[in-house]
Symmetry: C2
Subunit: 435 residues, 2 copies
Amino acid sequence: MQTFKQPNRSEWKKLLARPVIDAAALEQKVKTILNEVKTGGDASVKFFTKQFDGIALDDMLVSEAEINDAEKELSIELKQAIQQAANNIRRFHEKQVSEVEVIETMPGVQCWRKSVGIEKVGLYIPGGTAPLFSTLLMLSIPAKIAGCKEIILCTPPSNMASFPGTDTGGGKIHPAILFAAKTVGVTKIFKAGGVQAIAAMAYGTQTIPRVYKIFGPGNQYVTCAKQLIQKDGIAIDMPAGPSEVAVYADDTANPAFVAADLLSQAEHGIDSQVVLIVSRESIAVSVEKEIEKQLARLPRKEIAAKALENSKIIVVKDEAEAIDVLNEYAAEHVILSCANADLVAEKIINAGSVFLGNYSPESVGDYASGTNHTLPTNGYAKAYSGVSVDSFVKKITYQKLTEQGLKNIGKTVEVMAAAEGLEAHKNAVSIRLKG
Amino acid sequence: MQTFKQPNRSEWKKLLARPVIDAAALEQKVKTILNEVKTGGDASVKFFTKQFDGIALDDMLVSEAEINDAEKELSIELKQAIQQAANNIRRFHEKQVSEVEVIETMPGVQCWRKSVGIEKVGLYIPGGTAPLFSTLLMLSIPAKIAGCKEIILCTPPSNMASFPGTDTGGGKIHPAILFAAKTVGVTKIFKAGGVQAIAAMAYGTQTIPRVYKIFGPGNQYVTCAKQLIQKDGIAIDMPAGPSEVAVYADDTANPAFVAADLLSQAEHGIDSQVVLIVSRESIAVSVEKEIEKQLARLPRKEIAAKALENSKIIVVKDEAEAIDVLNEYAAEHVILSCANADLVAEKIINAGSVFLGNYSPESVGDYASGTNHTLPTNGYAKAYSGVSVDSFVKKITYQKLTEQGLKNIGKTVEVMAAAEGLEAHKNAVSIRLKG
């Protein structure tokens, strides 16, 4: 990690800049696959599944039997953990449901707003060695609470002979994903991954239904596909970038804990962003020593080491400056390992999720505290929120006026419409008041 | 208007499809202007203002004096109407502020969510003969309530010698816009329009500050510019399309009222989308007769007539089918001129804003009922909401665990992290529990 001692404010922007990822190079490739699936439907999805995942499928829909069998492959411990996490996530997200309140803005003019679940949503969970069943919980639980009627899941079939620690593999979905899907009530699960899965959900195929909004992480091809289908009117959860954490540590921080938090971010991928902000340089030195110790024991140490190479330590002159750096960086995850974490947290205005104190590691939020782990990266936290029940609803507004209500508000509307040069707008009121 | 009698369900999609607007043709032009402003700053913005608006400006920032003078140009009637509308909009949007509630998902695990205003937002109001001061109210009032610190406005300077009914004109902003801006507390107003204004707010210039999210309507160039700057990480309110209304009228509807509502939508532009759904064909006949009568008297009759040419009347077999058509079309505005509007409204799942009964014309929502008039068009209402206070905040999540809380949740996190193959995530918990 590179250390910057009290860098000048004018240098912050450059110092905290994320690497620019140029998707233009992929765009043509991705467009081709999107178009193929749009016209070719199921056959095209299967073709690309064979080509990219090496799996030839007859049926993409995961059967009831496969879903029920999954349970047998998992330890009781893991099933309990998934259920506990689901409970916490449910408890937190249930409070995000907003009640309808009718507001009489003027006598006889009633207005209200109602949240209605997006009818059809698609969730995408990538494949690979690590089955991201936690992400499935984070997406499907708020979708259920929101009242989405059709919640479909696309995830690629595995090309491993068998998943580690299980008797199942090749051409299947990891049992932890199937179990999580069943636990939360996902409607339908399809064996499809990558750009072809995004295309299938965006345009619909004979088997995979078209949805109105697509959620979930993915590699740069999936990210690019999600960006492109937006132009065709399909909504997406949010723009994506590599995962990131910013930790602020003062003298009360435990260097071993801080090191563990930085490493847990770094192990995600070589492009993971890790920033450590310290009030004194000696804290950084202790943390770095701890990183060295812990890194050696990690199975994903090569990845973590690579990510740390690009990581930065910033020594600030005081807490106020630490807060300013954090707000300028606008991290996906902010960990406050400092004396007065509550007060500092109140001053954070740009962040995805904030972790307060020495006993709130990021990994509790990644899995089970109850908050959502699908969060804005890449500085998007300046304008975007993480996924919540809000992400799965539209908030429709309503108004109902009595005849007297229209009389009360009529003049205002007529005068404004006339001033904007819209006589027909004015007339829609006048004709009713004449009646 | 073309009438379709009980069309087959399989034809609905085609019948209700919006015209496809191909932005690709503009894209290169728009990209060029975006890039020019990105590198050229103020000088480039002024260059394009001269080129497109025909106005040479020394200073883009509207002075205090100009803002204060605006008041004198307006009738008391209009000022009162603007203030009344602002009050109603404020009253409705204030209730959208959500309180912080701490949720203990497990003993010792506290989670909460806080809405924080997006620090810097940019509003765009187009120029032309009709000054859209109502849109300024609709955007700036929720921005203020959300707590946005910097709310800037870009709107092109007029090239008219003088605004109709005023003593001010050439190179100025319409006084109604300046008055509305002052009423609601917009921070800074700049004379800049079109793609160059969007670019200035997205990238910042010497004079115009960079913002994190851009709101507001515009022509196809502005719409295209907003789409493109999204790729650079600047958020936008929502994708845009031509304005639209769907009216459902049964025997209790007043044909003159319905005609007035359809015309008020049609006068927006020749691309306005108007759909009338009726339970009996005779209702449509009466409405069309009324349209003919009212149309002749409208100043914007050519525009309205053009829009109506592409408009559709759909005769449905019953109310249930009417509701299905409305949900399939997912209109920006839905007017329910029917007997049991409340019951029908409950079954609407795709709409921007709904107007219930015979005394709730769309124009009350456009100006003054209190609901927002920046709404999803083009079928986006299936996945998007209109602008609200939500649009101007990020909802940051927080978690704070006690040592005991971490003990309670620790095992769950460790088991899940291990199952996802993320040992460093597990270790961030284990190292704290060992301590």
